[in-house]
């Protein structure tokens, strides 16, 4: 069963206009690799050039912050959902 990656609309433009992406991968990082292989423009919006996370783009695996797990190495189970939450400041 695939994994779901949910992007906010602000990032959808870099991902073919879609916010919901079905993907495969055993870790959060592998899931990101899978989606960004189809949408290369998205890659730099999710991870820094060094492959590290940005401090303003947060990943939640089944509603838990991956920074308090193993980061991009956090294992992902079939059917899991990854939600990408970037900082926004509008008011």
């Amino acid at each position: 069963m695939p994994v779901t990656l949910r992007l906010p609309t602000v990032l959808a433009k870099s991902a073919g206009g879609q916010t919901v992406h079905e993907a495969t991968g055993g870790t959060v990082g592998a899931v990101i690799d899978d989606v960004t292989s189809r949408h290369p423009e998205l890659a730099s919006r999710l991870r820094g050039p060094d492959g590290k996370p940005y401090p303003y783009v947060i990943f939640y695996l089944d509603d838990e912050d991956i920074r308090f797990q193993q980061g991009f190495a956090t294992p992902v189970a079939d059917g899991a959902e990854i939600v990408v939450v970037p900082a926004i400041a509008g008011g």
């Binding site: 609309t9 303003y56 509603d63 912050d65 939450v85 926004i88 400041a89 509008g90 008011g91």
Partner: protein, 388 residues
């Protein structure tokens, strides 16, 4: 958890107030004591814009005794699509004055304390210290970090909300054991990466949704009802009308609320990488609308390039221009002739300044940025071009 004073020190309600708040008084979770807590409460609203409008209206209606309003801006006609505390008659007025008048109309029992100023590192602690809680309705990262740090340093809950286009986020930061804004976002994005609502737009009803989540949380904190939105980040997606919460954790290494190495307020303009970026048009060759008009009248040979997005081009354009959005400018660049004069414009002159830099880097020598963009063109040369 309820904030503020012991029950014995709460102000009483007069007969008019008892009648006005009767629908609160008959809810056991609020009751007379909860209403007296609301009357005693001092809430600081930072921003009286999209989020601040519903927050101010509903906190006033609910009977919050003192509302501080920090806002330096003036009501603009483009605010009215979402900033419902202000009316058409208020265009051009100070927002603090317009909001104060509207709040007094909603509930004359509310004391409004206007701060016609920008919240800064110099004044924030002095302003925030007089309040029980802060509701953050600002529109930029620098002020959000400032509000957060002031709340951490003074031990005030920070009811947070932010919006962009169709989406919003809300939570309550800075409670005794809860996380703060820096636990969630240790650093802001680089300037220019995340567009503001002025640049990227926002669905007018969205701040209504999120602002009322914030107002609800503020009322709950004051009366001590229910479970506050602490340790949970609410994500609202208006396009799918989905509401979900993800878990927020306090970061033990957070310099503000974890290690407490942050002992005072800092320079938030610098922290957000904005120092030296105040004017991206610095050093860019410019042409004024009058000069451009003169060149057109003389029928000079030059290319006029509009670097806005197609949906902005649909709103209006300068006659004779060619559309080449900045987002895909590299492709357009190859089709331009560097031997010809090039004039570039956008809405206000910022994006076109970036395009001019790209052209200069590609070897274009005779390239100018239209000062003030199409807005100034509309103002000074052709009023039939709509402003937006």
């Amino acid at each position: 958890m309820s904030i503020g004073r012991p029950a014995s020190e709460l102000p009483s309600l007069d007969q008019e107030e008892i009648l006005r708040y009767s629908r609160h008084l008959i809810i056991p979770d609020v009751g007379v004591e909860g209403q007296r807590r609301l009357k005693a409460a001092r809430v600081l609203m930072v921003g009286a814009g999209g989020l601040g409008s519903p927050i101010g209206l509903y906190l006033a209606a609910a009977g919050v005794g003192t509302l501080g309003l920090v806002e330096f801006d003036v009501v603009d006609v483009t605010n009215l699509q979402r900033q419902v505390i202000h009316g058409t008659k208020d265009v051009g007025r100070k927002k603090v004055e317009s909001a104060r008048d509207r709040i007094h109309d909603v509930n004359p029992h509310v004391k409004v304390v206007p701060y016609d100023t920008q919240l800064t590192s110099a004044n924030a602690l002095d302003i925030v210290k007089d309040y029980d809680l802060v509701v953050d309705g600002t529109d930029n990262f620098a002020t959000r970090y400032l509000v957060n740090d002031a709340c951490v340093l003074l031990g005030k809950p920070n009811v947070y909300g932010s919006i962009f286009r169709f989406e919003g986020q809300s939570t309550v930061f800075c409670t005794t054991d809860g996380p703060c804004y820096r636990c969630l976002y240790p650093e802001p994005p680089p300037p220019g990466l995340v567009p503001s609502c002025a640049e990227g737009g926002v669905l007018g009803v969205l701040p209504g949704l999120l602002g009322l989540v914030q107002a609800t949380e503020a009322v709950k904190l004051i009366v001590g009802a229910g479970e506050p939105l602490v340790g949970r980040l609410l994500l609202v997606d208006a396009l799918r009308m989905s509401f979900r919460t993800v878990k927020l954790r306090k970061n033990p290494a957070c310099p503000a609320c974890g290690t407490h190495e942050l002992k005072g307020l800092v320079d938030y303009v610098q922290f957000c990488g904005l120092r030296g970026q105040e004017d991206v048009t610095d050093g860019i060759p410019t042409i004024t609308p009058a000069e451009l008009d003169e060149r057109r009248r003389r029928k000079d040979a030059f290319d006029l390039i509009d670097v806005r997005e197609p949906h902005e081009w649909e709103i209006g354009r300068i006659e004779g221009a060619r559309l080449a959005p900045l987002s895909s400018f590299a492709e357009t660049l190859r089709t331009l002739d560097s031997a010809r004069d090039v004039v570039v414009y956008c809405k206000s002159g910022v994006r076109s300044a970036k395009a001019v830099r790209q052209l200069q880097a590609a070897g274009f020598k005779r390239v100018w940025n239209l000062a003030g963009g199409i807005l100034r063109w509309s103002e000074e040369i052709d009023p039939t071009v709509p402003r937006y």
